[in-house]
Each structure stands twice: as C-alpha cells, then as structure tokens.
C-alpha cells in the first residue's frame, strides 16, 4: 500500500527527470531520448511500476541522476549516518522523557511538576530547525565549543590519532543529537506523564500505599511499570517524527544523511533517489511499529501468558 502510494505520488508530478538533469547546451534531443529509453522512462507507467516494485524487492533501486551512482550505494552511505543520529536520539530522548515524566508524576500538581511542565511545553513549541540554528549560533559560532557541521573535520580528521578521531566524531555528534533529542524528549515526557496520571487513581496504587510504600516509591515501582507499556508502543511509532526532525537537523548541521539527500534529490528531480528515500523511511516506520508490538507482547504479562 505504502509503496504504491509513493510511486503514484512521485510519478504524478510534472516534469521530466531527464530533461532536468540533461538540460545543458550541447545535449541534443536524440541523446536525451536515448537516456530515456535506457532508463525505461518511455514505457507505459504501469509497466514502469511493476518493474520498479520487482527491482525494489530485489534490492535493485535504480540509478541516482544527481549523485551519478546507483541509488543503492547512495543509500548505503547515507542511511547508516541517519540511523546513527536517529538511533542515538531515540534512545536518549526516551530515557530522558521517561525520567522527566516520572519526576513530574511523583507529585502531580506540585511545584516541580508545574515548572517542568512549562519548560516542556516551551520546548514543544519550538521549531526544530530553529532550535538547531540557535544551538549552532550559540555553541558553534559565538562560543566555539562545537563544530559547525559535517560529520568529521574536513581538514584535520585524517591526521588525528585514533583517540583524536573518535573525539572528533563525537564532537560533531553532540549538537545534532542533542537538538533532536531535546525536542523528542519533550513530547515523550508529556506523553509519559499523562500515561502515569492515567494509572495513578488505580486501585492497586492504593494498595501499594496501604502496604506502607511512600508515594514516591509507589509511583516509581508500581506506576512506572504499568505506564511504560504505552510508551514502548510510542517508541515504535516515533520514527516518522524522528525522520521529519532529522531532515531539518541534517540540513542545519550539514549532516550527510538520508534526510538531507532526499531533500536535495527532490530539488534535483532525482526520482529514483526520492522514491527510494521515501520507501526506506516508510519501511523503517512499519518495522518500528511491528517491533513495538512485539516488545509490548513480551513485557506485558497479560499478553504474554494468554
């Protein structure tokens, strides 16, 4: 379903990729026609679709016009970089988000809850690209603590020792990951807090208190275990959000990942890369949802033992 939608969307657009790429003086119409034929663009659309799906299933994703390399290679380069960024951000933001949500729920309505809530709401209202820009402004330009972009130092990296190289990679990771994490964490914390608030009035919470647990311990031991379940589901479904965020972060910090590649490819009308990019993300999203379902099935004893 998803693949169909993607394909339809991409090919509905006006404009001829060959024309765009080869729009240089000196290239005659005959040459263009030849290119079109070799890429099968002159065949009927339905045939193109079938061939594309078949190819995609085999891992053969076509040729990227703008990169002059097979799409598969482009993806092989950029996808891991985005996954590194996204993966780190996912883990960190969930840990942070859950922590903050729990801290809030220990004393609902208390000062800590209210203040954290305001901060979170503020973060939630900030555009991701803007936060990234501001972070860049402050921490890379005004206070030159972190590098302003890229994945490694373009000049020095190869001359550094192993330790130096690791440090270099790490320092380039900090700002992008942090920005992506902070914004995700804000949403997750809000979600976790409301999940906890849902279970606080439960009877078994009252039992826990009647056993002599302090409110704080009751929340941490009993409520969290229960409220973690919907959060795990959320983790699986978080990928679309991360993907969107990653696009901006990669642009601001010039992180050569898949989000950036896809956006640039769209500008260059590089259809194969665009469709492959969107497809890859969609696959990841579906996989994420599946994993989340499995994870919940494992963790929730009611599901596991039924």
């Amino acid at each position: 379903m998803v693949t169909t939608l993607t394909f339809v969307l991409v090919h509905l657009a006006p404009g001829d990729p060959i024309a765009a790429t080869l729009d240089r003086p000196g290239v005659t119409e005959a040459v263009r026609q030849q290119w079109r034929e070799s890429f099968g663009l002159d065949r009927p659309l339905s045939e193109q679709y079938v061939r594309w799906v078949a190819n995609a299933a085999r891992g053969e994703l076509g040729y990227s016009f703008s990169h002059h390399r097979p799409v598969r290679d482009v993806l092989a380069d950029t996808l891991p970089r985005t996954m590194l960024l996204g993966g780190l951000a996912l883990v960190l933001s969930f840990v942070l988000g859950v922590l903050v949500g729990v801290l809030q729920a220990e004393r609902p309505g208390g000062a800590r809850d209210r203040w954290l809530g305001r901060v979170l709401l503020l973060l939630y209202s900030v555009p991701d690209f803007w936060l990234a820009l501001v972070a860049l402004l402050v921490f890379a330009y005004r206070l030159p603590i972190f590098p302003a972009g890229g994945i490694v130092d373009p000049v020095m990296h190869d001359y550094l020792s192993v330790g130096g190289r690791i440090a270099d990679r790490l320092s380039h990771l900090v700002l992008p990951v942090l920005t992506l994490t902070l914004l995700s964490a804000a949403s997750i914390a809000r979600y976790q807090r409301s999940a906890l608030m849902e279970v606080l009035p439960s009877d078994w919470m009252r039992t826990a208190l009647a056993k002599g647990l302090s409110a704080r311990a009751a929340v941490r031991r009993h409520a969290v275990r229960n409220a973690l379940l919907p959060t795990i589901t959320l983790a699986g479904l978080w990928l679309p959000t991360l993907a969107a965020g990653a696009v901006f972060i990669e642009k601001v910090f010039s992180w050569p990942g898949m989000g950036l590649a896809t956006v640039n490819a769209i500008g260059a009308r590089d259809y194969p890369l665009v469709t492959a990019g969107v497809l890859a993300i969609s696959v990841l999203v579906v996989a994420g949802a599946l994993l989340a379902d499995i994870a919940v099935a494992i963790v929730d004893p009611r599901v596991r033992l039924s």
Binding site: M1, V2, L5, T6, L9, V10, L12, A13, P14, G15, P108, L121, L122, Y124, S125, V126, P127, D128, F129, W130, L133, V134, L136, L137, Y141, R142, L200, P201, D203, R206, P240, T241, A243, A244, V247, F248, K251, T262, V263, I266, G267, R269, V274, V278, I281, S282, V285, V286
Partner: protein, 297 residues
C-alpha cells in the same frame, strides 16, 4: 455524571467557564489576541512596506537599532515590518489550513463511522497508509515535485495532510453515538442524525484545532526554511529565517526574532489547547456521591 449527559448549551457554557478559570488559558488567550491584533494592524504599526528595499547600499544587513528594532536584511528591508506582515501570512495559513482539515476530517470521519462497511474500510486503510509516511516528507515530495506553490495552494496542501488524525477521532465518536438509542430513534423518524453526532465531536475538535494551529505554524515555518514553503519576496516567519540561513552567525537577528515570534505564538496555542483539554476531562467534573470520592486520586 458524564459531560455528554448535559445538553449542548450548558456544556458549552460549562466548558468556557472551566477554561477561563485556568490561569494558563487566560494568559494564552491574551497573547494570541495580541499576536492576531499585531498581524491585523501591521500596516498601522510600521511605516515601511515589507517588500520595500530601503537603501540597498547603506541600509542593508544592519544590526538592531532604534530605527530598525529588528535590524535589516541583506536586501535592506526592515525586519520588524517583515515579521509583522509575516504574522499575517503565517497565521492566515494556519487558521485556513486547520479550518479546512478539521472540516474535511469531520466529514470523512462521520461518513466512515456512520456508513460503515466497505466505505469505512477503504477510507481507514487510506488514512493508515498516509499516516505511515512522515507528514513532512509527504509535503516535501509533493511541493518540490510540483514546483513552486502559491500561498493558497500551500494552505490546501497542508490541510490535505492534516486531516487524518481528526477523521480517526471523529469516526470513533461516531461509532459510539451511532448505536445509541436516541440516534436509532432519530433515524427511524427520518430526521438527521448529525444533530446528535456533532455536539459530541465539538469538544475534542476544538482542542485538536487549537493545537493544530500551533503545529501548522511550525510546519509552514519549516517548509519555508527549506525553501519550499512561502516563496520570496513574501514574508512569513519561516521565510525570514531562510533569508538569514546562509549567514546565521552574522545576521543573527534574522534568525532570532522571527523564531521568537513563532515560539511565543505556538506556546500560547499549546497552553490554550492543554487548558481546553483539561477542562473537557470528565474526571474533573463535580461528583455527587461521597463514596466515589474515596477513589479519587
């Protein structure tokens, strides 16, 4: 006692009263009103025209000063003016898109829930598939492949990707209400069932709409920043940031001020949406039986 047990008018009054009691909503409403006012009165608040290049030699890229509180951009346009007029663009896109998407979402949701059967299945499958692809990428793909869009088309596009969640919500509500006795009776009598469905949908719909306005502002800003939203020389908050994207460090005022405008407005939207959502929460409605009180948190 559930919110639905009361009649629509008293429900509306109760909702308003409960929301107004919440300090968050009062502050947020005031802020939003101010922003909207500033947008409306933009031409009165500034002597400059947002597209006017004042003096490309001497007045470009100036840092904030008394004459130009938000500085000027590389085309020597006054940034404060552009921010004020940008408010018009960003806000109108947001309100229009939300209005469109909520209406469409309600329509689809009610149809799917009410008619059921094949129609329902097909519609919901479509919604699910569309939800799998990140909204941003959908828009990016469509916008970039189609070429540049007018503001109107952009608005329609944003609305076009925003109605999914609403339709899901509305469909769920419709399903609940459809099988209630009074609706069955209404159908038997031949009167329209919409009267019964709509009041239940209004509450969550309002919450959704308020939060959606904030989200659309963020979305439009992001798109404009990437260069595929609002096109120059039109000013929207996102496009102003785009103007300064190349030289973030030097022309920091092009990034900071529109961004702050966005944050303040979206924060107000979110705070108001939260307050509305809390006011709708049936658990906070007054209770009568004292034994129930034992189980409250």
């Amino acid at each position: 006692m559930s919110a639905r047990a009361t009649r629509a008018t008293s429900f509306g009054a109760l909702l308003l009263a409960r929301t107004w009691r919440d300090p968050r909503s009062r502050v947020a409403s005031v802020v939003l009103a101010l922003v909207a006012l500033a947008a409306l009165l933009a031409p009165l608040l500034t002597p400059y025209d947002p597209a006017a290049q004042l003096d490309i030699v001497r007045l470009r890229s100036l840092a904030p000063s008394l004459a130009h509180p938000f500085g000027t951009d590389p085309y020597s346009r006054d940034v404060l003016t552009r921010v004020l007029f940008g408010a018009r663009v960003s806000l109108s896109i947001a309100f229009a898109a939300v209005a469109l998407s909520i209406s469409f979402g309600i329509l689809v949701g009610v149809v799917a829930g009410y008619v059921g059967g094949m129609v329902d299945v097909v519609l919901m499958r479509l919604v699910d598939a569309a939800l799998a692809i990140p909204r941003l990428l959908l828009i990016i793909a469509v916008v970039a492949l189609w070429g540049s869009l007018s503001v109107a088309s952009l608005t329609v596009l944003i609305a076009g990707v925003g109605w999914f969640t609403v339709s899901r919500l509305v469909r769920a509500e419709t399903l609940v209400v459809r099988d209630r006795d009074y609706v069955v009776a209404a159908r038997a009598l031949g009167t329209s069932p919409w009267r019964h469905v709509l009041p239940n949908v209004v509450g969550p719909g309002i919450v959704n709409a308020t939060l959606a306005v904030g989200n659309v502002i963020l979305l439009e800003a992001g798109l404009s920043y990437l260069g595929i939203g609002v096109r120059p020389p039109t000013a929207s908050w996102g496009s102003i940031i785009q103007d300064g994207a190349e030289r973030v460090s030097d022309l920091w005022w092009l990034t900071v001020f529109p961004g702050l405008a966005i944050v303040v407005t979206v924060f107000a939207c979110n705070a108001l949406g939260d307050a509305l959502r809390d006011a709708l929460d049936p658990r906070q409605l007054p209770l009568s039986a004292s034994e129930d009180l034992v189980h409250r948190p």
